[in-house]
Amino acid sequence: MSHEHVSNTKRIWFVFILLSVVTTVEVFLGILKPQSLHLNHFLGMNLLNWIFYILTIFKAYYIIWAFMHMEGEKGSLRWAVVSSVIFLVLYLLFILLIEADYIFEVFKNSTIKWNF
């Protein structure tokens, strides 16, 4: 944390407005589901979901950096927390989602059926 103890009320309200605007955008996109975004895919995921995930990471960044005051911490603490979580989460998602997609293919294309 910063040791000079300056008041950063202004920044807090700015981040609040930012997070609110982003959430509003997400909700409106989620309700409208514009066809152009929903039906076009990039790297196997539709553009709408890409937008949702990017905005989620954006919000997470501001919550951690501004609210949890990560921006005032020392580099060693920042790296210790953020890099370990990001690495482990990406790894977990990678193995689990690939495996799940494989199981989906097995159910779909082979003689095994789960639902009939």
Partner: protein, 342 residues
Amino acid sequence: MESTVTTANSEEKTWQGGNEPMEASYGKLMMWFFIVSDALTFSGFLASYGFSRFKFIETWPLADEVFTHFPFLHGVSAPMYYVALMTFILIFSSVTMVLAVDAGHHMNKTKVTFYMFLTIIGGLIFVGSQAWEWKNFIKGEYGAIETKGGSLLQFVDKEGHRVKLEEFAATLPEERERLERKKGYWFLEEASLPTYSVAEVQAGFKAHPDLLIRTEVIYNDDAVSKKDTKINHQLTKVKHKTILTRTESELRLSQASLVIEGANLHHNEYGTKLFADFFFFITGFHGFHVFSGVIINCIIFFNVLVGTYEKRKSYEMVEKVGLYWHFVDLVWVFVFTVFYLV
């Protein structure tokens, strides 16, 4: 005082104890440790949700058809508005928390008290909203049929709008009493019975020739499904659930085995069985975090009131619970995206 707030900071001998190599106190570092491990726990849950969803990618329920309730708006379909409101409440209680921490840096007891109080209120409103959301989810709205093979059948009218079981189910002169312990042996009992029996739903369906069946399968307009004669192509839309023709609907309904109303851990009227399990488990675990957060906030709030931190000359405890509270908000951001948006 030394045990809760470390102030020593010698220049030399960085790794020999008695100082803070990361310039964060012991308590704060331990909170970060906890947050990292808890973040990995939640990641595990959300990743396993992703696993199940990818496994059943063609039949997973569509969130904007499941969460459509808003208080005092009965029968109005308001997808996601309520959960958006909940998100705002949680973000706002995060803001009041960070304002309390900020006031603590200035040793302003009145302001810390005020903002901590607002944070607790926000947390309580959020937990209450979640309970209401659960209530609607468990109660259900339309009802559905489960077939012998385990797939789920829902009912729509000729415009493709959902139809409730009570709107068409027939009343047959049959009686089926619920088996309770007092009526048989002590180990014999069954869950509460649905309002209608399978035969009543089937009879009602026969009597209403306009009704059609909607399956769990999400329709993709590829060459194979375009030629599929079992699908009602006028009503089925791309990336929506598949609606069957009347002949096929009757055939499917003849294989019915259970009437499903609402949701529990074994069955739910929304789609894949795992969907309800994950909903209960992940939002429940998050709700439990919010609840414990409220309790911890209350403890700190009373400590602020009696002036513990004033005497300690440091409001660092507020900062530590603040970290936890923001983390709960952070988790909700991800749960919101994964459960309600994507």
